[in-house]
Point group: C2
Chain length 208, copies 2
DNA sequence: GTCGTAGGCGTACGCCATACACCTACAAGG
DNA sequence: CCTTGTAGGTGTATGGCGTACGCCTACGAC
């Protein structure tokens, strides 16, 4: 009956994402999002319980951009690769959102749906019971960890350069590896790591 | 010549860790650590540049408790498992430190030394060049991600319970898997996931 | 036109990190 | 033993944050 709402959750999430993309994760504040929407800070609270819920909206928005359908005739390893790579791509488009993703990866419908899709493929591949639990958590851990390692590294890649310059006397392997790492693009590194994990799932004592 | 220092970095790290263990990650503040040390807030700044450096000290302290020596005659997979499990154990003793670990895993001598130890084993196992880079990053990503998934989950495990209660109609696989997951202790889940990854390193097209 | 609901906003409070200026405890040099 | 300069410890102040609360008012229903 009274005045209609003038904002949607989607608009709010988009505004917050814009702030984060522009000013980095530390730039996100209720004040900043408010003025991004040309509203007062407190107006936001008509739409959002608190800052935490707003962060959840941002994460949900990013995850929702990942397609969940996979070709049913493709091998299960390939289908899982698709699902994982799509999340990686969605996040790579907004690197500054990684710290929020770590805290809110659980509490959105988009993330539940992604998990459901992953488990669907694993189930069709023959995984069940504890093996399915372990396989899913291993893939999830790798994905989460890789995002974190890639985007929250020591200034996202410049750290590798710094490590490459370490005194070879103190850290010979580390310095050498960091030098090698400079020639490996992040996508390739991510993909190959994922391939290793999937190979372990394929050829383990509990195959199928 | 003037007055001697009355605090060491170790004492400060221990105090901050005590605060975190008692009040959780959000309880960490310069004020809290100051009063834990029976000093004023600002006294801390004589020993520490800013809050970020203090966080680094805490992480360094936790990581330093992980032993780095491994039996040279053991298989390389077992030696890597030891190194990874020790970090997991060190962190599991102070779960609230996980968010800080994610941000500061790079900037302490302890973490560099751990990386060096891991790479030493990988090198002895025959890995080199890009393969060594990929293997190391895969293991690191899994470790980081698993810590995050385990300790920053939806309230650390209670979330699994919540998911298990989801409407099976909407998320059938997710609900079933969450039910299965309740019977798997976290250490076993972590260990089996790591085993999968190591198996992938062993039996891949680029073994040795 | 009237009215009640709920949108939008201003103010204020308590927390945080931290810059700065001050006092003072103490080791070194006499 | 006394002086002195350095650096330790502290109090105060600033500017940011999230958000509780209360006010005004635009608006749909009647």
């Amino acid at each position: 009956m009274p005045r209609p709402r003038s904002l949607t959750h989607d608009q709010i999430a988009a505004a917050a994402l814009a702030v984060i993309d522009r000013d980095g994760p530390a730039g996100l504040s209720m004040r900043a999002v408010g003025s991004e929407l040309r509203m007062s800070t407190m107006a936001l609270y008509r739409y959002v319980r608190d800052r935490e819920q707003l962060e959840g909206l941002v994460v949900a928005g990013v995850l929702a951009s990942a397609e969940l359908a996979t070709p049913p005739e493709a091998p299960w390893t390939e289908r899982l690769t698709l699902l994982v790579e799509r999340v990686r791509a969605a996040v790579a488009a907004h690197p500054s959102v990684v710290p929020l993703l770590l805290l809110h990866r659980h509490d959105s419908a988009a993330s539940l749906a992604w998990g459901e899709a992953m488990l669907g493929v694993l189930t069709e591949a023959g995984f069940s019971g504890v093996q399915r639990v372990v396989a899913f958590r291993a893939l999830l851990s790798y994905l989460i960890g890789a995002l974190q390692v890639e985007h929250l590294g020591p200034l996202s890649g410049t750290g590798t350069v710094a490590i490459a310059g370490l005194p070879s006397a103190d850290y010979p392997h580390l310095a050498a590896t960091a030098r090698d790492a400079r020639s490996v693009p992040p996508e390739q590194e991510f993909g190959q790591g994922l391939a290793i994990l999937l190979r372990g799932l394929e050829c383990g004592p509990q195959p199928r």
